[in-house]
Symmetry: C2
Subunit: 257 residues, 2 copies
């Protein structure tokens, strides 16, 4: 036995218990979920003007639009039919199915209320490059990472209901250009997100078996928080302080068609 | 003007008319669809034994199972919500939705009838490597090619109803181990394939605008025919003549669990 090597230095670290694993996932929300970003405090507190809210809504459209593509990318990698059948309802939630129009349509009701043309919003022409890079990084992450880690990256949904409730009440109270119809997207997500995060949390508890896999899942939630945070950084930089707007991006008073 | 260059040598080739484009697509079927493969003649003519039919069914499972992943990969690349909403029913057709079990389940009813365990079939352990390489090449093609070319690669469905009708009648007439329930997959596809190929044909006629794009679409159908043909070549080589079965692949009388 080589006594210069500390005992256990090369030992496999023990997996966390399911409860400790869940606590580590949840701790990421407390550490870096985008509810803590100054831009959200401005948004929910009524301290943005209509153009700043428009900038937020049309950039966030890119994220909304990436989510069903991210979920399809996930399904494209899954050989387990039951898992595909479970996951596909996430695409239905966003794209709709048959008569149900879906969450992206509800998002466009919000951008309608803000006076933005649908062609302009869905073209993503006015969105900040940093927004598009961030959301496409999320799609790539789900393509490239192990499936359990890809599932873990959805778990920011654990933290979403609180921010959605705050957003609904804050935006309704503070902006006369936002009404009940315009916040329908968030109201629906209050039901959808807990169902989805419950499934995903159970999935990673079952399938992340080693400590290394568990750590990668916790890192995936950090990564996803970064994807969300980076979008608000870009908005804040372009439309609040210092207000440096990249060429081609939406400008207050500029063309939106 | 340089007279040493033939007139029109560098000119853009004119696009085909919609009818000529469709005819070029359909001509690929006459040229190389897998209905012409000797293995299919053996299969439909009742000249395979039960183990050879089992080998076909468990290899073809890999193709069935790749199709919804291929369709999800396609959706993951589509920014047009209406196109995603249209395409997603292809995933439902194979994976089912809610109460509807879907085409893969119907395929497993066939492999049940052949006495293969579901675990063995869905594990893909006994499938030929060439089968798996071919079907995954199809998934990659749809990930990597322009969307209109990816759509075109689905158009072997134009040629499918004829082979499905031949297969239903041939297998029912010739094999006492195949009954109506076991061929339910093919019966359902008789309705699904024409609807899907009609949409896809219309899509490529609208969206392949240059001759180069049209040529790439025709090549995509050739590629897809190659994917189907290669699977039968591998089956024929392993289970008919010369009967060289790769290590690990299903063997008549061997373990299937």
């Amino acid at each position: 036995m080589n006594e210069s090597v500390a005992p256990g230095a090369f030992a496999e670290r023990q997996p966390l218990s399911p409860d400790a694993f869940e606590a580590a996932i949840r701790a990421v929300g407390a550490e870096r979920y985008h509810d803590k970003h100054p831009f959200h405090r401005l948004l929910h507190g009524g301290r943005l003007d209509r153009d700043q809210v428009r900038a937020w809504a049309l950039n966030r459209y890119c994220y909304q639009e990436a989510v069903p593509r991210k979920d399809a990318a996930f399904i494209s990698r899954v050989h387990d039919r039951e898992l595909r059948r479970e996951w596909i309802h996430r695409i239905h939630d966003h794209d709709g199915l048959g008569e149900e129009a879906g969450g992206i349509e509800r998002w466009l009701v919000l951008t309608d209320a803000l006076g933005l043309s649908r062609d302009y919003v869905t073209s993503r022409r006015g969105a900040l490059p940093a927004t598009k890079f961030a959301v496409e990084a999320y799609v790539r992450f789900v393509v490239e990472q192990p499936l359990v880690v890809a599932v873990a990256s959805s778990l920011t949904e654990l933290f979403a209901p609180a921010i959605h409730r705050e957003r609904i009440s804050g935006m309704l109270a503070n902006y006369d250009f936002v009404d009940e119809r315009a916040v329908a997207y968030f109201k629906r997500r209050l039901q959808q997100a807990p169902r989805d995060s419950g499934f995903a949390l159970n999935f990673i508890k079952t399938n992340a078996r080693t400590r290394a896999e568990q750590d990668a899942c916790v890192d995936a939630v950090r990564f996803k928080c970064d994807v969300l945070w980076a979008q608000l950084d870009a908005l804040h930089h372009a439309y609040v302080t210092p207000g440096i707007t990249p060429p081609g991006a939406f400008r207050p008073g500029g063309a939106t068609d």
